[in-house]
Amino acid sequence: MAWANCENRYNDERVSSACGLFGFMDTTGQRHDGSRAIKALYAMKERGNGLGAGFAVYGLYPEWADQYAFHVMCRDEADRLEVEDYLRRYFRIAHAEPIPHTPVKGMVEGPILWRYFVALLEGIEEAQAEEDAVIQHVMRINSQMDGAFVFSSGKNMGIFKGVGHPEQIAEFYRMDTYQGYLWTAHNRFPTNTPGWWGGAHPFGLLDWSVVHNGEISSYGINRRYLEMHGYLCTMRTDTEVVAYAADLLMRRHGLAPEWAAAVFASPLWNEIEAMPEPEQGFYRAIRQTYGSLLLNGPFTVIIARTGQMIGLGDRIRLRPLVAGIKGSMLYISSELSAIHLAEPAIEFTWTPLGGVPVMARLGSAPEPPPSGHRMSVLAPEVRYA
């Protein structure tokens, strides 16, 4: 284990709690292997307990960049044939293969894992946006087929996840063979829901992916709202609502990420009341329109999509989030030490205020927060000047 920075010989890793998140993005689009992310998660080993880990990689399949890459997990071969049969009815399958993997000591046997590179057949459901049609098929498979899940469905990206420690999952999927300009990674400590293969993070829909630490206590109301917009929650865990809400707000409704952040982690009412106009009016409108998508409870998420990475914590910071910059690279992590380990020459690190998103976009270099607190490394932003 080249990334192993320390060895625990006490077998007490199920004792501690809280999930570990890590993400990095090269805003020039240059692709990197995932060793930084694997190393970082290993440094935060106490944050997980072996019941789930995973990775999302962007810029992953340049040779199939025009195709939707469906990663599918199936209970058995019959289930897989059923999925394949379904896909053939609505998609042209350009390529299909088992997702390469290696048996790893200590891991329980997982599901059958395949990937399909597909394009929608022309003429079908043409009244819809193409992405909406794809979502509908993913939802149909995930909610109606008993033994099959599509757990990744974007273009030129992919999610790899399962039940195990991060280094086991990395070895299982041979993550060292993949390259991407953006990686997010997750080390799971399941609390309210079972640790199963589909429930590991990241969660994805189209090219959205989400890794999450915390509990979304507004899950019920978020879920009902999303169901009204055609998103069905099937993964038995709270995190998937964030992926679907990201798609609804930022793709379908066209909200800028800053405003999506204001939906998920809205300022408190007393803070809104203290804002000048027209800002106050914007925030009132956001809360009134999207109150059902406010994420209540303690959380930190890293949301990624093609060309973009967003880190966000709840508005009173009940879960940790730190960020760092080195040249064209933005790092987001649950713990600072993991950033230093992944990038020993890190130039600037800071801890954003709760509810303030940290963002990177392909083509523009990441910027430190607009604050004068340069004397020290931890530089809190002021939300409104």
């Binding site: 320390c6 007393n270 803070e271 910071r317 230093h340 004397m375 931890l378 932003e381």
Partner: protein
């Protein structure tokens, strides 16, 4: 007992280096403990990377110097040692610490000094959320936290005792502390703040007062120590004005569940 005292005196200047590279925190603390038993009194920890609970089981007048970024709960339940962090510290540093000193040359994360009941913490840079949450005092045990820079929200949440001083000496002219909800649920202790902040967002349980002579003496005592740790000019750091934040009542929620 007498033999132990002699051994300790003989070892007072004994120095040691511990390479933390690849060490799980339990092994790291085990080795620290053994070094101290063997008489080491000044130990440099190199290549520290996220190991939690460093120094938690040491009850000796030992000085630790940490190179790298230590993990959460550094010095938790600490009783006596002096820890110097040459970089930043993560969350939960000084959790429920009993006595001793922690000196952080960078910044510190959330819940620094959580439930602290004695000893002192000095931070050169900034600190995160909920610093000094529920710190408390009893008799001659009065914990102290001095912060050179600024703080994020909920400083001194549910604070029950002790002293916190925020110097704000990295604020630009005219810049306010970003801190909101300072002293929410505070019912003991005192906070001294230098530099402007938004009074609209103060915790509801906090009163504001100008500092008086005895406050200034207290501030001077701890800021002088702060200046010594970081080789700063104490007189410059002491230039006010300071404002005093105090709990308006000892039982802010006394009637919350009473009908």
């Amino acid at each position: 007992m007498r033999e132990r005292v002699i051994a300790e005196e003989a070892a007072i200047h004994t120095e040691a280096v511990l390479d933390a590279q690849g060490l799980y925190y339990r092994d790291l603390n085990e080795r620290l403990y053994r070094l101290v038993e063997q008489g080491a009194r000044s130990i440099v920890l190199k290549n520290v990377s996220g190991q939690r609970y460093i120094g938690t089981n040491l009850q000796a007048p030992v000085r630790l110097t940490i190179e790298g970024v230590p993990g959460n709960d550094l010095g938790a339940f600490m009783d006596g040692p002096e820890i110097h962090v040459m970089n930043d510290a993560q969350d939960g540093c000084g959790n429920t610490m009993n006595s001793g000193t922690i000196v952080i040359h960078g910044s510190a994360g959330d819940i620094l000094g959580h439930s602290m009941r004695g000893g002192s913490i000095f931070v050169k840079g900034n600190v995160g959320y909920r610093v000094g949450i529920h710190m408390k005092e009893y008799g001659d045990r009065r914990p102290v936290i001095v912060i050179g820079g600024t703080t994020q929200h909920f400083l001194g949440e549910y604070m029950a005792g002790g002293v916190m001083i925020v110097l704000g000496h990295n604020l630009k002219p005219g810049e306010m502390h970003p801190s909101r909800y300072i002293g929410t649920g505070m019912h003991g202790g005192v906070i001294y703040l230098r530099g402007p902040f938004d009074e609209r967002f103060l915790g509801k349980e906090v009163g504001l007062a100008p500092v008086e002579e005895e406050d200034l003496l207290l501030i001077e005592r701890y800021v002088t120590r702060f200046a010594q740790w970081f080789a700063q000019d104490a007189a410059a750091l002491l230039q006010g004005p300071f404002v005093k934040l105090y709990p308006r009542t000892k039982r802010p929620y006394g009637r919350l569940y009473a009908y």
